[in-house]
């Protein structure tokens, strides 16, 4: 087997046992990346940095100083600022931007000896569910069942495609409304969004600050546990990052979920749900029951208001966060004609630099925050958000340990198929995942099986706040019971 196909856990063990070096492992990934331009997953390749880091990792391994990710080659979503390396959030407005600093998450990874293969494409500013809003053109899903090119999902679509196609051992993602879990489900990999505050947001380009959270996207649940343990930290640079100790998530993977109560929320059984998704969900519940968990029907009554609340809060925060892109401090500045002043500069720069979906969301955010509408939209949405969180609090207080839902309303769709759709139709992709961001909870997407078309389908487990260890353990039990081992056949 080529080394790039290994899981993080297997590569870690192989490196420690001296079966191969990090340089060999890294070269294997780099050559896979070279042959995969058709997927358009990497928007910046950093082979020199990778080989340098790999050599340093080999030296550490030899010296017996090898932290969890020492020598493991990873891909980094373009939303993370990486010092001296293009970090563009897949937007024209950040063209040419090379940060003078390193995000806390990536610094944690490099401190642990990880190797950076390059930057991974995404929807522009993480706004999108199909990767079609990236300024680099869409990423293509390595899964393919007919002539069509399929979306890898979004916004972390480059990360998902790269992991699924073995162009890295794992990747960082970020999730504001489902941007780790939906692409993970579309590509047959694992993705976890941690509890809000578990992972530092410092140096991650901000979309909606009260919802954004970074997490790992990996080939297995164990890999997610390993990688999350390094990504998470306490950080004085992010005032919302908590001071709780970071547990050993891998040690939580006991495989024992006997007596755990798994909730099945009736509100997620929506009208017109495809029979295939419903069966997947029921079968997933049966797998957890067979492993000794108790399946309990629960109600989360405010579920249907999650999407509209999300599409008030997220654009409002985005309009504020994206105000900084004004053509003054970094990135693109429009060329001005004679007589044009500073307001023309702002307006032209932002019109040229932001794509249509980002423009729409900034304008919606501007509108809901404007005088006279602030209470009617923004404050109302924040109150509804409190009710959505209370639904979960009540379920957990009643003894529920985790909640099982579908991850997405369908498997991957074709690139361009949603081109003429209303923006709201695209938003429906997030229907099962946004509630988790609004409530700040951890959520994980686990691949379960292929659908009738031959495309991966995943289930989502939602955990208690700060309960990522238990959640990962439940996810591993589901992963083992489902026995999903399919890989996309190489066509690229």
């Amino acid at each position: 087997m080529s080394l790039n196909k290994l899981t993080i856990a297997a590569a870690r063990d192989g490196l420690k046992a001296g079966e191969f070096t990090s340089v060999e492992l890294t070269e294997s990934c780099l050559s896979a990346i070279e042959g995969a331009d058709a997927l358009n997953a990497y928007c910046a390749k950093t082979p020199e940095i990778a080989l340098e880091q790999a050599k340093a990792a080999d030296a550490r391994l030899k010296a017996g100083d090898a932290p969890a990710l020492c020598g493991i080659p990873l891909g980094i979503k373009d939303l993370f600022c990486t010092k001296g390396v293009a970090s563009q959030a897949a937007s024209r407005i950040l063209e040419g931007f090379k940060p003078e600093y390193e995000s806390t998450v990536t610094q944690n990874l490099w401190d642990s000896g990880a190797v950076m293969l390059g930057k991974l494409s995404m929807d522009e500013f993480a706004m999108g569910s199909s990767n079609e809003t990236a300024c680099y053109g869409p990423v293509v899903n390595p899964w393919k069942v007919d002539d069509r090119k399929l979306t890898p999902g979004g916004s972390s679509g480059g990360s998902a495609a790269a992991v699924a196609a073995d162009l890295c051992l794992g990747a960082t993602g970020t999730d504001t409304g489902g941007s780790i879990r939906q692409p993970a489900a579309f590509t047959g990999i694992v993705g976890i969004k941690p509890t809000y505050g578990r992972v530092s947001r410092w140096g991650v380009v901000a979309f909606a600050s009260s919802l954004d959270q970074a997490g790992p996207m990996t080939k297995s649940v164990r890999d997610a546990a390993i990688m999350l343990g390094t990504m998470a930290s306490n950080d004085v640079k992010d005032s919302t990052c908590v001071d709780f100790p970071v547990p050993d998530f891998e040690a939580a993977l006991t495989g024992d979920i006997r007596g755990k109560k798994i909730g099945i929320p009736k509100e997620y059984r929506m009208d017109g749900m495809p029979a295939e998704i419903e069966k997947l969900w029921n079968d997933g519940a049966a797998m957890l029951r067979d492993a000794g968990a108790e399946i309990v029907d629960i109600s989360l009554p405010h579920t249907k208001y999650a999407l509209p609340a999300y599409y008030v809060i997220a654009p409002a925060e985005a309009s504020s966060n994206l105000a900084r892109y004004d053509g003054v401090r970094y990135g693109h500045r429009a060329t001005l004609s004679a007589g044009e002043g500073i307001v023309d500069m702002y307006e032209k720069t932002r019109a040229e630099g932001f794509g249509p979906e980002v423009q729409r969301r900034v304008m919606i955010g501007t509108y809901v925050l404007s005088a006279g509408f602030y209470d009617a939209y923004y404050n109302r949405a924040r109150r509804v958000r409190a009710l959505i969180k209370r639904d979960f609090d009540l379920a957990f207080e009643a003894g529920i340990d985790a909640i099982l839902t579908p991850a997405t309303p369908s498997s991957a769709f074709g690139l361009g198929e949603m081109k003429d759709a209303d923006p709201v139709e695209m938003y429906l992709n997030d229907v099962f995942t946004v509630t988790v961001n609004l409530a700040g909870l951890p959520g994980i997407s686990v691949p379960v099986r292929l659908d009738a078309k031959g495309l991966p389908m995943g289930l989502q487990l939602i955990g208690r706040p700060w309960g990522e260890g238990d959640l990962l353990n439940q996810a591993m039990v589901l992963e083992q019971a489902a026995g999903f081992t399919a890989k996309p056949e190489k066509w690229w």
């Binding site: 090379k98 940060p99 003078e100 509890t195 809000y196 505050g197 004085v236 005032s239 919302t240 908590v242 001071d243 405010h302 249907k304 208001y305 509209p308 599409y311 008030v312 309009s319 053509g327 003054v328 401090r329 970094y330 990135g331 500045r333 044009e340 002043g341 500073i342 307001v343 023309d344 500069m345 702002y346 307006e347 032209k348 932002r350 019109a351 423009q359 729409r360 304008m363 919606i364 955010g365 501007t366 509108y367 809901v368 404007s370 939209y377 404050n379 109302r380 949405a381 924040r382 109150r383 509804v384 958000r385 409190a386 009710l387 969180k389 209303d422 923006p423 609004l438 706040p465 700060w466």
Partner: protein
């Protein structure tokens, strides 16, 4: 709530995004569609509910108000489209 063309023009200006006159009708229609979708929130009784602020009740971290960082103007200006003599340069603002 529906957004007319004048409102769309006003919102675009508030957001400092130039939108061509010809594109305003479609923008107004799309924004109206999104706002109609949001109007479902009016069905919810939010009387007496405080807006959510954090996952687990906690205060934002505080620190002493003192300078802990800085003194590298060249790094701050490194990515500027137009930087001169230690400043960001912009078109003339005051006549």
């Amino acid at each position: 709530m529906s957004i007319d063309i004048d409102t769309a023009r006003k919102v675009a200006h508030l957001a400092r995004i130039r939108v061509a006159e010809d594109d305003l009708p479609k923008l107004a229609e799309q924004l109206s569609g999104i706002l109609t979708f949001m109007e479902q929130l009016n069905e919810v009784d939010v009387e007496g509910i405080e807006p959510m602020t954090s996952v687990t009740p906690m205060r934002l971290k505080r620190r002493v108000d003192e300078v802990t960082d800085g003194d590298y103007p060249e790094k701050i200006l490194a990515n500027a489209p137009d930087a001169r003599e230690g400043f960001f340069a912009v078109p003339k603002v005051v006549e």
